[in-house]
Amino acid sequence: MISKDLVAASSRPLILSILAEEGESYGYAILQKVRELSKEEINWTDGMLYPVLHRLEREELITAAWKEAETGRERKYYRLTQPGRNALKQEREQWLTVHNSLAKLWGLKTVSI
């Protein structure tokens, strides 16, 4: 299981990356996607996601809009903005730099940034 600190630190790039891949998504689906990608190793509590989403929204990295879902209920969908794409690019570079540093130390393959 991933440590709490790492879970918190990775929430931002994970959300931005999922929104970049999906186009738009909503809280519950983002949470499910993270669980699926990490095979339940990244254990986000359901409630922790929304404050992070709201912070990203305040930073104008994502936008949100309420829309009617197929179930008939309203859902708040999030979408990446252009500053969000730039932020994701920076996040990617930083995380890959960390990854490559550790990979070299541990004798693993590095990836191009």
Partner: protein
Amino acid sequence: MGTQNSFDLNQELARWRSELAEQGVRAAEANELESHLHESAADLQKRGLNEEEAFWIARHRLGSAPDLAEQFAQADPARVWRERIFWAAALTLGCLFWMQIWGLGINWVTDLLGSVGLQGTWNYLARQLVTLLPLPIIAILVARGSLLKICAVLMRPFRTQRQFATASALTVACMLGVMGLNLWHWSVKTAQADQVAVNVDILGSLVVYAVWPVTLVVIMFGIAPRRRPAEA
């Protein structure tokens, strides 16, 4: 586990939202959490749980109301301080009115202090000190956030930035008005009273009305930055 017949989803949702509101979670945030709760519960029902079981498990997964409120507050610390300062400003208004009623309208404190030998300027200063007693207590409660929780329930409709700005403007206007009236009152009495005593009284009034704004400034610049969590 199933007490399906007695379970009322709408009632439980209303109760849950009320708990969230009591902890300071805003309606817009609660709407989104409720949407999540429905998604999560629907998923659990697809796996064979009944409505009640699905609701309680989904609610548990979301976290308790205090935890949710704490997480929203941590993600936006400036908001917490906006709200605290709003309530401080609103309370200042109340305190000012109270002090005027107490200090000018009720003479029993003066009489009481007089009966124990405090007369003239000392009587006046002691009375002002008595009226100030609740202010440090209120300041501590505001800084700790305890008062916010109580006030959030009592005055839920007045939690916007515009209301805060209005309350702040009114507070400043009231303070200036009260100080002006006080100074005018004593300047009128200058001709009839001992000049030194009048000057002490004016100084006392200025101190009395400066205490609360100074307390607010200390809270804003002294405590707020230390409580601000580091950006993730």
